[in-house]
């Protein structure tokens, strides 16, 4: 019935599930939707679950319900036949019994209303029956106590509300959410007892009680809290630009899940200094970072495309910045990192099919276990980190 709308929504990247679509149908059947404005709000509530997507919804709504096409009598009859007559009467704000239209008369009346409405907003171009509600009659009954018109004070029709495109600023670019990444990362755990002793230790209680000859003695212990530690090194070099969005997603997912997180940036490859803040070139000594965090059982994740000039990886003085003369080649630092952080991985955003073809990538992949920066890749990487975690049962 509103298939066009359904496909418009999908076209705009709003993945409406069938479940939600049926809920909307159910709402229609239960007479919840009396006019197009109600339809606008309700379909949004039922089909869209992220306010960031409201703007795309508005676009789809405008495209689906306005247009140049004027319905022919046949098309309209087809639409009407899918609808119970009572519903059409409701949309046309007809009182039951007061009018006794037959179907032909009803269609004629509806068509007249559409033509009357065919002003600036091309309501007449509507392909769909629900649009009858954009006419003023559907507004009745809204002005009860405690209600204001429109989303705040707007008195416009549904199309006008949609046209306002109020949600344009709600960052609609959200193709992949961080949730799956967060779920993957939250598997990293290092449970350490902490805080007050308020958790019943069943084993100790039973042991103690049997020692007492059946006299129950309750033993409490500290709850275990997740104290996993992670050192994150991110490549901020120019070749990473296309992946900036992806790295940001990973970063915010890690930040949300891991409290003991230390992060630094590097430029293409790691030399004697890495950056706390790459824009302002606030640097720290790489050796110090290695010493400090490897002693505290940090996991290490390096994010980078591992693609660079061979000289950058292998040579002295190969650093990309001309003013910077490195006294040790990057490869040495990488090997040192790998040695000192047994639980370490490299996440590469490049297509894994290319890894073997890029010389430096192949070398780095022989130093670090390399995983693809994708949900699956991160899951695998986390599994590896858990396996190699200090004190893990091998």
């Amino acid at each position: 019935m509103f298939e066009n709308f359904f496909y418009k929504l999908r076209e705009k990247g709003i993945k409406v599930s069938l479940n939600e679509w049926f809920t909307l149908q159910e709402a229609l059947e239960k007479g919840l939707i009396g006019d197009l404005k109600t339809f606008y709000y309700l379909s949004r509530s039922i089909l869209v679950k992220h306010e960031e997507l409201f703007d795309r919804f508005d676009e789809a709504f405008i495209e689906a319900f306005t247009g140049e096409h004027i319905l022919s009598i046949e098309e309209m009859r087809e639409l009407f036949e899918q609808y119970p007559v009572e519903h059409i009467e409701k949309i046309l704000a007809l009182k039951r019994g007061e009018y006794n239209y037959n179907l032909e008369e009803l269609i004629e009346k509806f068509k007249n209303q559409l033509e009357m409405e065919d002003g600036d907003v091309h309501i007449g171009g509507n392909r769909h029956i629900g649009s009858g509600g954009t006419s003023p009659w559907g507004e009745n009954g809204l002005a009860d106590v405690g209600i204001s018109f429109g989303e705040y004070h707007n008195t416009g029709t549904a199309i006008q509300v949609a046209r306002m495109r109020k949600y344009r600023n709600y960052s609609p670019d959200r193709t992949m959410d961080t949730r799956q990444l967060q779920v993957a990362i939250s598997r990293l755990k290092n449970l350490i007892p902490e805080g007050p002793e308020d958790e019943l230790d069943l084993d100790a209680t039973i042991r103690k009680s049997s020692e007492n000859g059946g006299d129950i003695e309750l033993i409490f212990r500290k709850r275990k809290k997740n104290r996993v530690r992670l050192l994150l090194l991110m490549d901020a070099g120019g070749s990473m630009d296309p992946y900036a969005h992806l790295v940001n997603l990973l970063f915010s997912a890690i930040k949300a899940r891991i409290r003991d997180l230390k992060f630094f940036y590097f430029h293409n490859c790691i030399y004697e200094e890495i950056y706390e803040d790459i824009e302002n070139r606030i640097a720290v000594k790489t050796e110090e970072i290695i010493r400090k965090y490897s002693e505290e059982n940090y996991h290490l994740i390096i994010v980078g495309d591992a693609a660079m000039a061979p000289s950058e990886l292998m040579n002295l003085g190969g650093a990309i910045e001309y003013w910077h003369y490195n006294r040790k080649p990057c490869k040495d630092y990488l090997e040192e990192l790998r040695k000192r952080f047994p639980s370490s991985v490299w996440l590469n955003p490049e297509n894994p099919k290319l890894w073997n073809r890029i010389w430096t990538t192949a070398i780095i992949a022989s130093i670090f276990p390399m995983f693809h920066l994708s949900v699956e890749g991160v899951e695998e990487a986390v599994r590896y980190l858990i396996k190699t975690q200090a004190g893990a049962v091998k």
Partner: protein
């Protein structure tokens, strides 16, 4: 039929009203998001008040487990009773305590269940509620009892988007995002709370309030409740609207961070 239209002191927009009523009629949970101070939590109380129903509140914390919402089996109490022998411990039922969801499902009349700040809990928490909310029933293995819901509760869930909610859960909800009110709507809200407020003072205070809110780098923007507090103070101190326009009296009521107060003074005072 029960139809929610807001209350005398809680104004709703048509979008919110449609969402609430759809949630009630379709029997789906209503998920409400929005800026702090837009009345997300209050909504559930007002639905209960308007429809004359009891409200059951479940405040979610980071340690909350779905199971606790259904029931808790108080083993420690039972163990303790066994030790002192002052109760019949063979009756396990007395150690089963229904949680908020359990109470809402087993209630004799329809209730409003508020699940407040669901995003505080662990990531999988919302999914763990799906079955019980869909089926309206759950099993207590300890007593071999099925608790079957008599009336589907009106479920209102609030979230501050600290964590993203699982898609399977979202698909079942009716969603509404409460926007921060625009100045016109805000005036209506203020009038509900201060019916005798002079028009001039109202206009100036609301105008000033939005000027402050629109300062770009405030750490914490003032919300509706702060505006209402501010107006209350202004009235009690008999501050004139000229003074409000000229100066920013009692700015500390609106802004809670020293840094924000300084920024606002620099930007707006005496301008």
């Amino acid at each position: 039929m029960t139809y929610f239209k807001g209350t005398d002191d809680y104004l709703v927009t048509p979008g919110l009203m449609e969402a609430v009523n759809a949630a009630i009629i379709l029997g789906r949970p209503l998920l409400v998001k929005g800026e702090p101070g837009t009345g997300k939590t209050m909504l559930a109380y007002k639905i209960a008040e308007a429809l004359n129903k009891k409200i059951i509140v479940w405040n979610i914390k980071s340690t909350t487990k779905a199971q606790e919402g259904l029931y808790v089996y108080d083993t420690v109490q039972r163990l303790n009773d066994a030790r002192f022998g002052d109760r019949d411990i063979s009756d396990i039922r007395q150690y089963i305590k229904l949680g908020p969801l359990g109470q809402a499902l087993s209630s004799d009349e329809q209730v409003v269940l508020l699940i407040d700040e669901i995003d505080k809990a662990e990531l999988e928490f919302p999914n763990d509620l799906l079955h019980e909310l869909d089926q309206m029933s759950f099993y207590i293995p300890e007593t071999r009892e099925w608790i079957k819901g008599k009336h589907r509760p009106i479920v209102v869930i609030t979230s501050n988007s600290e964590k993203e909610l699982p898609e399977a859960f979202l698909r079942r909800c009716i969603f509404h995002y409460i926007e921060f009110p625009d100045p016109e709507f805000m005036k209506k809200i203020v009038k509900v709370h201060f019916p005798d407020l002079e028009e001039k003072l109202l206009n100036t205070a609301v105008k000033r309030f939005y000027e402050i809110r629109n300062i770009p780098d405030l750490r914490k923007k003032p919300s509706t409740s702060e505006l209402l507090d501010w107006i209350r103070v202004l009235l009690s101190q008999r501050i004139s609207d000229e003074q409000i326009a000229k100066d920013l009296p009692f700015l500390g009521v609106l802004l809670k961070k020293t840094r924000d107060v300084e920024i606002a003074r620099r930007r707006l005072a005496g301008v």
